[in-house]
Amino acid sequence: MPRYYFHLSNKRCVTDPYGTVLLDKNAAMSHALVVARELMFNSPGMLGQRWSAWTMLVKDKDGKKVITLPFSEVPEGLTRH
């Protein structure tokens, strides 16, 4: 099963060096949404920048961009787990 890496991108980059083994790209998208919501939950932003300034980039083991998810596009109102 493939390993996906979930990075945060803004002018600065916050990287995930370990990755997570997931079934496929759909599973990676679900995971990205869960992580994005956990990060955004009752939090105004990160490193002094509001969440709307951040994007989650999901890459595969070869460093290829698989998913680009702007935080501004993460649907709200869904529960944590």
Partner: protein, 186 residues
Amino acid sequence: MISLLVVTQEGVGIEAASIGREGAVGLHRGLGKRRSFTRAVIPVSGTISHISANVFERAVEQSDTIKDMITHYTEVLWVEAQQIAACNALHGAEARFARWLLQTQDRIDSDSLPLTQEFLSQMLGIRRTTVTLVARTLQEAGLIRYKRGRIVILDRAGLEEAACECYQIIQHETLPEIIGVNLASS
């Protein structure tokens, strides 16, 4: 330090309370056999004293002092558990992570905390990926260094600012208020 963990049916964990040298786990066993509703885990190894349940139960029967200690410490733990419940429900991942690191450092009195991200994920009830990203953020901000499974707190004051108010309340207000003991880290 010992963490009391509640684990849901899905196998997701979250910390309900943490106990350091100011407290003890299983005190109520001194009052009689009990079922445990939480899992006790040890985040960072250290020295622990223990006593056999039957011996403790006999000691409690004979000592009002020990009974009083159980009462007072129960109150401290209850107040802390209330605060942690609110914290877990209402505060953000970064603030809770900062709070947890500060509490742990205070309780084990060490600068360097060997902690896996998987473990932190269970303590805080968040995905391991989220732990990675939050830890990296705190590192980018110069507050911690996280390398090879070890967290070193670099900027305590900065980390206290990043933490929610629950750190201050649990670590510095509940114990002195209720028992008159102050174990604030230097």
